[in-house]
């Protein structure tokens, strides 16, 4: 579903991703772990189409679409979703209106009928309730004045409503207390499907206690230096990242 070979990304002449390669199949959950500054968030943003990065790769494709040069909204409509590490606050725009616009633009692309305001309220409420979310969050402005936990849950709510083929969750566990973490993990697990892939980008192993990955990759210095099963995450938890941070031969 996601095929990446030799991905490079730079910003202001500084190279952040240096020859990253990764393959993700439908139905799989992958965890990308790595120390601060290793390029995890850049990787997530590049996949979603952030145009501030200069991107080059031998292959960067999702479901057969070449992602290079593809607009972020088209990626989203094709089924790619990014849960932001720092969701953006948008004052004056109600969450409900924002969610409906997003869902309708994706539905339109898929040839499905769009929701009117009334129908959408019940859909959104249903999703929110499943997930233990307060209705009031729907009426407030997008992420404005939301606590860290509320923002992360709002991201998961968007994921549930948009039903992506590939979900990339960027540090969705950061800043959550253990109860909130469990709620978010429950939301993620509820999304697992044979036809859907999930990529968890995280610094810590603890989310993986609740969402069990099929594969774990370690990102250091802009490329993947080791891949393994969930046991690799436990090893990282005990030993940290330093033992992997040896200079790695990077193909240039």
């Amino acid at each position: 579903m996601l095929r990446i070979r030799n991905l490079h990304a730079s910003i202001d002449g500084r190279e952040i991703l240096r020859g990253l390669s990764l393959g993700v199949q439908a139905g799989e959950v992958h965890a990308i772990m790595g120390p601060n500054g290793s390029g995890k968030s850049t990787f997530a943003q590049v996949l979603a189409g952030r145009d501030i990065y200069k991107v080059a790769a031998d292959e960067l494709s999702f479901d057969g679409h070449d992602l290079i040069g593809m607009a972020p909204e088209l990626r989203a409509r094709s089924g790619l979703f990014l849960a932001f590490q720092y969701p953006v606050e948008i004052p004056g725009v109600s969450n409900l209106y924002f969610l409906r616009s997003a869902v309708n633009s994706v539905r339109k692309h898929r040839g499905l009928p769009e929701f009117d305001a009334v129908d959408f309220i019940s859909v959104a409420k249903h999703c929110a309730a499943q997930f233990g979310l307060d209705d009031a969050m729907l009426k407030r402005a997008v992420n404005e004045g939301f606590s860290g936990g509320e923002k992360k849950r709002n991201e998961i709510l968007q994921m549930m409503l948009l039903e992506p083929r590939l979900a990339i969750l960027d540090e969705t566990d950061s800043g959550l207390d253990i109860d909130a973490l469990k709620v978010v993990a429950r939301g993620i697990n509820a999304m697992r499907r044979p036809g859907r892939a999930i990529v968890l980008v995280t610094h810590y192993q603890r989310l993986l206690d609740y969402v069990e990955p099929d594969q774990v990759h370690v990102l250091v210095g802009g490329s993947i230096v080791r891949s393994g099963t969930k046991e690799l995450a436990l090893e990282l938890e005990q030993r940290g990242y330093s033992w992997l941070e040896q200079p790695v031969a990077v193909e240039t």
């Binding site: 607009a71 989203a76 932001f84 004056g92 725009v93 997003a102």
Partner: protein, 445 residues
């Protein structure tokens, strides 16, 4: 300068030609007032950008045209598209075409619960009402150096005279509509409105300005509002004129003890708009909230000058003006707050927030605080920004295209103003006009 003086002389001549037919002719105080005003107008001349108050607003497009004045109602049919805007707010209304009352479009209040809503020209014919008007018209509205106010005072041919008795609660908004007919020649209308709200009375007042596209026109309106003790006035100014029009509006509100005045000033369409809003907090505990939203595209200009005069203690003022500017549009905000020596415990907050959608749009925003009391809270802030790129990316990653994302952020920016509108029809219309403006500014870009 000499060219401008020549223009004023044209109006001095025009004045001598029509003065005998202006309403209230023969009332000594008014004859005197009009004569003094035309002299003042000629003496002041059209303001130039050398004056601090007009530094960014070049009125030469007005000064170099010759505008005509009409004294009888136009026979022009009001276009159907305007009919819906005239009918927008249900309730009593007066409609003025080229500055003259059009009876057929106006609606008198259906029950006379004491609300007086009439033409100022008519009222001047009644000795008792004329005497009452003398108290309000007998001086400039606090702006002796404002050439356009002097021009209005000399030439006004009609306007609304509204009186709301003490304790009266007017349920439905009172609508004043001013239409430039675009008939034949460039016409200047100088509506003059006097609104007296008694102690404890409450009312909402909407002034809508419309013009037929295709012909240059000038509307130079002056509205005086006097609010008694504990009165509440909710005032809206909807400038929805065409880009062939020039709009100059001066509003002067004077508030007694514990009176509450809110205003919403919207500027949507005229080529050049200059608004002066002067609020005098002349009683303890008086409060005002002044909100404004202006949209400019093409090479339009909107200039909002406001002045809040805190004269008495414990008064509160809140002010928020927002501008959205695209193309080569220009905006000006100048917000004066004066706190007199006796006005202790004044609480004043002013914000000017501006969204620039193009590299060529321009905004000049300036707070102007004069504080002579020592126990006060005065805060002000100004911001100028562009659409936030993080927010744009966030919306796009949800499948929302660039255009819809821009529109969403622009609506979000305006929401702080629109959400404060208490008349639902006006709230809806403002949102529609914002969306229509968004479409047209995209086409222009």
């Amino acid at each position: 300068m000499s060219a401008l003086l020549a223009e004023q002389n044209i109006y001095a001549t025009a004045f001598s030609e029509i003065v005998d037919r202006l309403p209230g002719r023969g009332l000594d105080w008014l004859d005197h007032l009009r004569k003094g005003s035309i002299e003042r107008f000629v003496q002041l001349g059209f303001p130039t950008t050398r004056l601090e108050d007009w530094k960014y607003t070049n009125v030469s497009p007005i000064a170099r045209r010759t505008f005509h004045h009409v004294l009888s109602p136009s026979r022009t049919q009001v276009a159907d598209s305007m009919r819906s805007q005239v009918d927008l707010v249900p309730g009593p209304r007066l409609v003025f075409v080229d500055g003259i009352l059009d009876r057929s479009l106006s609606l008198k209040p259906d029950c006379d619960g004491g609300l007086k809503l009439c033409s100022i020209a008519e009222s001047l014919r009644d000795p008792q009402q004329a005497a009452a008007l003398e108290r309000h018209l007998g001086r400039y509205p606090g702006l002796p150096d404002h050439a356009f106010v002097a021009w209005n005072t000399a030439f006004f041919a009609d306007g609304a005279y509204i009186e709301i008795p003490a304790g009266e609660v007017v349920m439905r908004p009172i609508h004043l509509v001013f239409i430039s007919s675009g008939a034949g020649q460039p016409i200047a209308a100088h509506p003059r409105n006097v609104i007296v709200v008694g102690d404890g009375a409450r009312a909402a007042l909407v002034e809508t300005f419309l013009s037929v596209p295709g012909q240059a026109s000038l509307t130079n309106a002056v509205t005086g509002i006097v609010a008694g003790a504990n009165a509440a006035v909710d005032y809206y100014q909807m400038e929805c004129e065409s880009t062939d029009s020039f709009h100059v509006a001066t509003v002067n509100a004077s508030l007694a003890r514990n009176a509450d005045f809110t205003s919403h000033t919207f500027s949507f369409g005229a080529a050049l708009t200059r608004n002066d809003l002067v609020v005098t907090l002349d009683g303890e505990g008086a409060q005002c909230r002044l909100d404004g939203l202006f949209l400019v595209e093409g090479d339009r200009l909107v200039d909002n000058h406001t002045e809040i005069d805190h004269r008495q203690p414990h008064a509160t003022s809140r002010e928020l003006y927002k501008g959205i500017l695209s193309g080569y549009g220009q905006g000006v905000f100048n917000g004066a707050i004066i706190v007199r020596k006796d006005a202790q415990k004044t609480d004043a907050v002013q914000h000017s927030k501006n969204l620039l959608l193009s590299d060529h749009a321009q905004i000049n925003t300036k707070p102007q605080l004069e504080i002579r009391a020592n126990d006060v809270r005065c805060a002000h802030g100004a911001s100028i920004g562009q659409l936030d790129q993080e927010s744009m990316f966030y919306l796009k990653t949800r499948g929302i295209d660039s255009r819809a994302a821009r529109q969403m952020l622009i609506r979000g920016f305006a929401a702080e103003i629109l959400d404060g509108i208490r008349v639902p029809d006006i709230r809806r219309q403002s949102a529609d006009l914002l969306d229509a403006w968004f479409e047209s500014s995209l086409e222009a870009a």
